[in-house]
């Protein structure tokens, strides 16, 4: 059952990332996406016989990395918002579009 949860969360995160126009929301979606991958690792550890601790260590590492990236992204969002004084205007643009 938790395996299916992984899939659902992954799709939700992906969906949010591509449809949200607000940066903070994209960041939340990305975090949910990452959590779903961690969930897969831990479920795999649980299914293994005997219980496998390597995925646990991997997910611990991953959680620390995720907070680092989130913090950097939030700092950048803050700088950009401070400049334009309008958070909703700052979107990453159409992620599928072309730059400049």
């Amino acid at each position: 059952m938790y395996l299916s949860l992984t899939g659902v969360l992954f799709v939700l995160g992906l969906h949010g990332l591509f449809t949200a126009r607000n940066l903070l929301r994209q960041l939340l979606s990305l975090n949910i996406l990452t959590t779903s991958v961690f969930l897969l690792f831990v479920v795999l550890a649980r299914l293994a016989e005997p219980l496998d601790d390597v995925p646990h260590a991997i997910v611990l590492t991953g959680i620390v990395i995720t907070i680092s990236t989130t913090a950097v992204a939030l700092a950048l969002v803050g700088r950009l918002a401070g400049r334009t004084r309008d958070d909703d205007a700052i979107t990453a643009g159409d992620p599928r579009g072309d730059a400049e």
Partner: protein, 314 residues
Amino acid sequence: MALVVLAFDLLLAAALIWLAWQATRAADLFHAVVSFIVFGLLMALAWVRLEAPDVALAEAAIGAGATGALLLSALDRLARRPRRHAPLYEPGTAWGFWLPAGSALLAMLTLAAWNLPAPGLGNEILASLSASGVEHAVTAVLLNFRALDTLLEIGVLLLAAVVIWALGQAPPPLVPSMPSPALPALGRLLFPIFVLVAAYLLWRGSHGPGGAFPAGAVFGAGGILMLLAGARPWIRSSEHGPWRLILSLGMAVLLAAGVAGTLSGQDFFQYPKGTAASFILVLEVAAGLSIALLIFALYLRGKPREHGSWGAAE
């Protein structure tokens, strides 16, 4: 009894999905962020259900706690700006694409995941655990078998702090619109408990769930609480003070441990025979201290100001 457990799992899964949906779709950003924090807390429960107590500790302290504090303080600054009503989502055909594509992806992933035999490395760990210097398998993986990953991971944390400092000064601290006497009291009351819990977790890491990361995160969260309760951030970015050194301590000590192996003619990160336990203890303490301060530094979202410049507007 099994039925109750199954019902609990189903409820948990449903709640997680609903919260994830709220976090990505709620019209109000505050609502989305709060949903995300609750999502993290429930996720910690899910980790416990999946027999991953270490991950649960880290998720509660870092994933929900510290990340939540970061998100909320960022949100507070964003929300003060006048808001132009831009569309939150691309209008139009999204559903026609997402419903089939999402189901296809979901089916594919589930199919793949069900086909996994998941052999795991449990037996290998059990075989090597006695030689690793600690009794707790996760700690053994983190600080012995895969210590290189951990070194880079603390590096990522330090690097993130450096990047944030590089981007500019920290915004001035928040001033609550109606100060409450309860909050500073709470801070004073809880901070010693935070320190106690952190020390306990650190010590526990050698034989049970715990270790440097949860401990550091709890300690860092205590610092964030003090900040919220009105304390001034005590980290300074000055080159002269000890702060930069303490921030980098964890990574420096891990690097030194790695190089020590090479210098003594062995593999990188190979601890001399019989000393693994003491090596790991030193690494845990140094890493825990750095992690606590780094999480605190991440929360400041910029280079801390020097003394006396607090009044200056950005």
